[in-house]
């Protein structure tokens, strides 16, 4: 009787492939497959995108090891990707850190994302693929929450909206604040497609509606007042009237990314800090009182730093992007709004931005 193992050995002979160069070729081939899939997605649309992104979802499906338990409800939506490359994706994740999944966005390069409060749609500031040597052009897009029916909204100039690229919804899901041409805050009526400028002349960004929709908080930098960039948190009525500074420039330095508490009484923000000072997440009452820093690390030496505060729907926690200084990774973490204690919900193997926390049903 023929020994089949021996037969196979003899048939194959002394052939002894080495893995060194093959590993490089295999890695390149996987990258090529990924690029081909992206190109295909542009051609055949969202169906192909779903298939391609499914790979990513699978890739993370089993990553439970770094996920502490959490009692929070709702869903995080954020942009994740290599900070040094023009490749990123939109993700959703349950607030307890489970069920990280990608939301298809075609071949767009994402700059900012915001799910509507009613959970129906997602607004994107993003760029379509741009010619080599050119710059991306930030445009406004809307799509359904599952990534379907992606449409470009003609709200920006052909060369794109300018300034800090952020977008946020009014509580009734009918209006969007977006950066416009960079010298003010613009609001778009989603149904009519008309937009209007609420502020101008200053460097304003990060506009967010209050929970009752009557006011807007934003970050304003006034070079005429302070030659060094030193953004402060401002609040105005939703029609642009009665704008006034909330934070004290003697205390707050580079205060940006305001976030309203659900009861509308407090605003958390990112304190960029200054040399000799501290950076972190800070909070102030809407009447300007009780300003305090919740987390702090020494300016310039933070190994990790929190950005992008967003409140939990019940106001019991503030979620932040806990960034690694080299932008190689991010954790989504929760900050206690009373004690400032920070605990990690989940580590992510990429840099993340544009964090939001939705009340709606968690991923299933």
């Amino acid at each position: 009787m023929t020994d089949l193992r021996s037969f196979l050995e003899r048939a194959i002979g002394p052939f002894d492939p080495t893995p060194d160069r093959a590993l490089d070729l295999t890695t390149r081939r996987a990258a090529q497959r990924q690029r081909r899939r992206r190109a295909g997605a542009a051609v055949v649309g969202l169906t192909a995108s779903l298939l391609a992104l499914g790979v990513v979802v699978w890739a993370f499906a089993g990553r439970d090891g770094t996920r502490p338990a959490g009692a929070q409800r709702g869903t995080f939506v954020f942009i994740g990707g290599d900070a040094l490359a023009a490749e990123n994706r939109l993700y959703s994740m349950n607030a307890d850190g489970s069920d990280l999944r990608a939301i298809p966005t075609g071949d767009l390069f994402l700059m900012a994302a915001a799910p509507s409060p009613d959970g129906e749609r997602i607004a994107l500031m993003a760029s379509e693929p741009w010619p080599r040597g050119d710059m991306p052009s930030a445009q406004l897009f809307l799509m359904n929450a599952d990534g379907s029916d992606l449409v470009k909204v003609p709200a920006c100039r052909d060369d794109g909206c300018q300034g800090t690229i952020l977008v946020s919804w009014s509580p009734d899901s009918r209006s969007l604040s977006f950066p416009g041409n960079g010298t003010g805050i613009y609001v778009l009526d989603v149904e009519t497609g008309t937009s209007r400028r609420l502020t101008g002349g200053s460097q304003d960004d990060g506009a967010v509606f209050s929970p009752d929709g009557r006011r807007i908080a934003f970050a304003r930098t006034e070079p005429s007042v302070d030659p060094e960039p030193n953004a402060q948190i401002w609040v105005m009525d939703a029609d642009g009237a009665s704008a006034h500074q909330l934070t004290d420039a003697a205390v707050a330095h580079e205060a940006t990314q305001p976030a309203w508490s659900p009861d509308g009484t407090r605003i958390a923000y990112t304190e960029g800090g200054e040399p000799g000072g501290t950076a972190g997440i800070a909070m102030v009452n809407v009447d300007g009182s009780a300003a305090r820093q919740l987390t702090a690390c020494t300016f310039g030496s933070c190994e990790r730093f929190p950005t992008n505060p967003v409140w939990s729907p019940d106001g019991s926690a503030i979620a932040v992007l806990w960034q690694e200084a080299r932008l190689t990774g991010t954790a989504i973490a929760l900050v206690d709004p009373e004690s400032g204690d920070l605990r990690i919900v989940r580590e992510l193997p990429f840099s993340a931005s544009s964090l939001t926390w939705q009340v709606g049903t968690a991923n299933t």
Binding site: M1, T2, L4, R5, F7, L8, R10, A11, I12, G13, F15, D16, P17, T18, P19, A22, L23, L25, T26, T27, R29, A30, A31, R33, Q34, V55, V56, W58, A59, F60, A61, G62, R63, G329, P349, F350
Partner: protein, 164 residues
């Protein structure tokens, strides 16, 4: 393919441990070294894309083989279509014989249907039992045993050995 450093390290370790053996085994399936290397790299590339999921499987290397077999079947179908649409008459046996047979043993192997060569690789090379091989191939264990039996008989006929 967004793996963290630990994921990349574990894939590289897996690759280095199994690549040589997988390529050698795929010579049996594909008929030649270049085809085997190409198949193996394509299979490992597909595994890399979903490594976090594959590494958690009971037999990641079994998944590599299954992927390679699927790629090879597509390759054979493509070859067959090409031959049908060309002026060159299709060969009567597996297109893998297009690759110059390097030895009499390879010529014997080339006479086996791809399905039997796949079963040989899994059972005789990888050491899987019939149940495990059946799960990789998506067939019953009895079918695996049948393929091995027929492969052995063909090989013995051509090499003058004894049937079992």
């Amino acid at each position: 393919m967004m793996l963290d450093p630990a994921g990349r390290d574990s894939f590289e370790t897996f690759f280095r441990a199994h690549y040589p053996s997988v390529v050698r085994a795929l010579v049996v399936v594909s008929g030649g070294e270049p085809e085997a290397e190409d198949l193996a790299q394509e299979a490992f590339a597909r595994v890399l894309e979903r490594w976090e999921r594959v590494r958690a499987m009971e037999s990641p290397v079994g998944y590599v083989y299954r992927t390679a077999f699927n790629v090879n079947r597509n390759r054979l179908r493509h070859l067959a279509r090409s031959l049908r649409h060309s002026a060159v008459p299709a060969p009567e046996i597996d297109p893998a014989t297009e690759v110059e047979a390097r030895s009499e043993l390879r010529r014997v192997l080339a006479r086996l249907p791809a399905s039997q060569r796949e079963a040989l690789v899994l059972v005789e090379w990888l050491g899987l039992d019939a149940d495990e091989a059946g799960r990789v191939l998506g067939i019953e264990a009895s079918s695996v045993r049948g393929r091995i039996h027929r492969a052995r008989r063909t090989i013995n006929e051509h090499l003058g050995g004894e049937d079992d």
